[in-house]
């Protein structure tokens, strides 16, 4: 008789198990540490020590609020929302602005330029490099940058972005549209500068 490999637990199931046995929380940390590190780095927390401190705060907050997790949401949206809020609070506390290097390497840039069909309608010269995109991203308004990061670099769907940023789905579309327009303008200006 053929034996099927065990089906991995869903995030929501891990949450339920964590509420019974806290050791399961380690599984949540395993699943999300890398994703959240990358996300908070994109949001502008670049220093490794800062990242670790912030991640510690995020996961602790997640643990304390596990009973408040709304099961109608995806767990990933919920944990991203907490991370987003904590990152914003971190900036405010430190009174700093996001730093550069939102896009780590050329592979990510390539993904941004071609993987998402929507990104293709950003009107700019396709010869730009990661540095230029980073510079342009840093110059656009926060609200647009946050949506663009979630859509094109974290590959989130509209509904997930709506849940993470706590804004209506319609507003996600509007912000993306305006963000792309602003990014296009900034990229073209950046190309002119170079």
């Amino acid at each position: 008789m053929e034996q099927h490999p065990p089906v991995p637990l869903s995030d929501e199931e891990v949450v339920i198990k964590t509420l019974v046995d806290k050791q399961f929380f380690g599984e949540i940390v395993d699943r999300y540490e890398a994703k959240l590190t990358r996300y908070i780095a994109r949001l502008g927390v670049r220093n490794t020590d800062d990242q670790l401190d912030l991640l510690q705060e995020i996961f602790l907050k997640v643990y304390k609020n596990l009973n408040g997790f709304d099961t109608s949401l995806q767990f990933s949206s919920w944990i991203y929302r907490i991370s987003h809020n904590e990152a914003v609070s971190w900036y405010r506390k430190k009174n700093v602005r996001p730093e550069g290097h939102l896009i780590a390497d050329s592979e990510e840039l390539l993904g941004f330029l071609s993987a998402k069909d929507e990104a293709a309608d950003i009107d700019f010269d396709k010869t730009v490099n990661a540095k230029q995109v980073n510079a342009a991203l840093l110059r656009i308004e926060d609200k647009y940058r946050q949506v663009l990061i979630l859509r094109f670099f974290e590959h989130k769907e509209y509904e997930e972005i709506s849940d993470i940023l706590k804004i209506p789905i319609g507003s996600v579309g509007t912000l993306l549209h305006r963000g792309k327009k602003q990014l296009g303008t900034e990229l073209n200006q950046e190309a002119l500068r170079i």
């Binding site: 509420l19 806290k22 940390v29 395993d30 890398a34 510690q56 996961f59 602790l60 804004i167």
Partner: protein, 310 residues
Amino acid sequence: MEQHTKKTKNNLKASLLKQIEQEKVVPRSRLFFRCQECFVWTLWLLSVLVGALAVAISLFVVTHHQYALYEATHDNFLTFMVSVLPYLWIIIFATMVGVAVYNMRHTKRGYRYSIVTILASSIVLSFAAGSTMQYFGLGYSLDSLFGKQMSMYMSQAKIEKQLWQAPHDGRLIGQQVLATTAPTTTVIFQDSAGDRWVLNVSELTSMDLYLLGSEQTVRLLGTASDSTAKHFHACGVFPWVLGQAMKASELSKERQAFISRVYDHKDRSKERLAKLELAVFEETDEPSVEEAEGVCAHIAPVRRIEASMH
């Protein structure tokens, strides 16, 4: 490099579990989150309710039949509305809509709806509840309750009293306290300030006299012929009924009756002038022009209604 990343990763997981263990960190109870959600919804419900009360009172004020007689107190409908609009309740309503929207946005799934949807739903709910309250007379009850309990609060009764207790502008509110019958007709009228007036009722219609004689609180339109001696020339008597819900048709009927009664004074003045001309022609004992025209043909509301007719 990979080794370093792995080490950091394990460190975070281990240090988190250690912190949870050592500091005895426990997840907040489900009850805490339920209470939090209930609190937000309760605030939302409260704001909608208070908003509905504001709508009920505002509806009572703006649909109250006092505006059937607006020419008696104001130059036009616009100046009348500006002075009687329930600003306090409109501000309270707007604030409550704001609070309702804020609370709705802070419920678990409130962010999924657009501001327009939340705003519209809060306004519609407050209006629906407020209209129902007003239908059962709650607008009037609350308005008069606040008026009695708070000296600063201008209830509809207080506003109307203020509008109609203005002897210098030819308006009185009160009731008849004494009347002698013809041939020496004297009517004593006590206004809401407690002053007693001797009324000249020569230009009143039988309907006006009937209303005056009912000894109910009434509104008088006319002119103070002698403020010191408290002589008042009455031109119209109107009932003072507060809190009575009126249909649009009844309201329109009351307004028509008011206009025709006040406008009659102008027609009667023309008739009298014609009689005067006749008297001069026939060289009989003629009255003076003022007497012939009558005082009521010249009071401000008659002039206003006449102006609006042309």
